[in-house]
């Protein structure tokens, strides 16, 4: 299972910021996610419109990975850690910084940890997320 762009595991630099991805969280985008997951739309209407369901943050972090050409195509997800700080509201922009947090080999498997910090237009953090993936063998 080769990765998609040929970057070697050994060339992943721990601590490297892989870039920032920006996304407008439109009402349509939230509704697309709600439709995809079959969640109940009405549960996500708050006083000023829709909020993105918490697990929608993974849509943004996956987009950040692929927009920044982070070479994990073919990787297998092993774990996630998420801390929810403020909800993401419709119409806002989110900015996602991606940093290679760590890499290690365990039981002959290569792992990579990516840190994501999701901020809003005001610079405040909405969500922090760490993804653990098994690198393509």
């Amino acid at each position: 299972m080769a990765n998609l762009d040929g970057i070697d595991y050994k060339n992943l630099v721990v601590g490297k910021n892989m870039g920032t991805y920006q996304c407008n969280v439109s009402r349509e985008l939230i509704l697309n996610y709600i439709n995809n997951t079959g969640l109940d739309y009405e549960k996500f209407i708050l006083e000023n419109g829709l909020i993105a369901p918490a697990a929608m943050v993974f849509v943004f972090t996956l987009r950040a990975i692929f927009a920044n050409n982070i070479p994990i195509g073919g990787a297998v997800l092993a774990g996630h850690y998420l801390e929810c700080i403020e909800p993401i509201r419709e119409g806002r922009n989110v900015y996602i910084d991606v940093v290679i947090k760590d890499k290690y080999i365990k039981k002959e498997r290569k792992y990579v940890l990516l840190d994501f910090v999701v901020r809003g237009d005001d610079g405040n953090i909405n969500v922090v997320n760490t993804m653990r993936a098994i690198w393509p063998q």
Binding site: L39, G79, Y81
Partner: protein, 140 residues
């Protein structure tokens, strides 16, 4: 939304959070690939996927997490929890046609630390655990 309004008095160790059940389909996986831009061939290319250790297409691991979160939110009767910490480990793949059932069980109510700890489970129709984890919910 400055804090969580949780009626701690009704939370008991051993409480089970509501089942959130969903049938995962090939179309859902395909649409999620478009939505997330994650077109990993394990999710979208049957020919590729059948020659891998998974022997076929698997769902994005993050799809069922929606239902794990939802079970916690339904227990607390809210749409979002400020300060919620959520950690999961993926044990087995979810495949198109699988029916996942997600729920949790209150493990601890830590008044001194101001949080509630919930063990999380996502099972498939064979009652196999596919994702397990833990949620830590601040009381305020």
């Amino acid at each position: 939304m400055s804090g969580n309004i949780i009626d701690v008095s009704r939370v008991r160790i051993g409480d089970v959070t509501p089942d959130v059940k969903y049938a995962i389909t090939k179309d859902q996986i395909k649409d999620y690939a478009v939505l997330s831009t994650d077109n990993n061939p394990l999710h979208v290319d049957e020919e590729f996927a059948k020659d891998t250790m998974f022997k076929g297409i698997i769902a994005h691991g993050t799809i069922p997490l929606a239902y794990m979160f939802q079970s916690v939110y339904e227990y607390f009767k809210c749409a979002w929890l400020k300060g919620l910490k959520f950690e999961v480990k993926f044990i087995a793949p979810v495949r198109p046609g699988d029916i996942v059932v997600c729920n949790g069980q209150v493990k601890n109510v830590n008044a001194d630390q101001g949080n509630i700890v919930i063990d999380l489970y996502c099972m498939n129709q064979k009652n196999d655990k596919v994702i397990v984890g833990e949620a830590i919910v601040p009381m305020q």
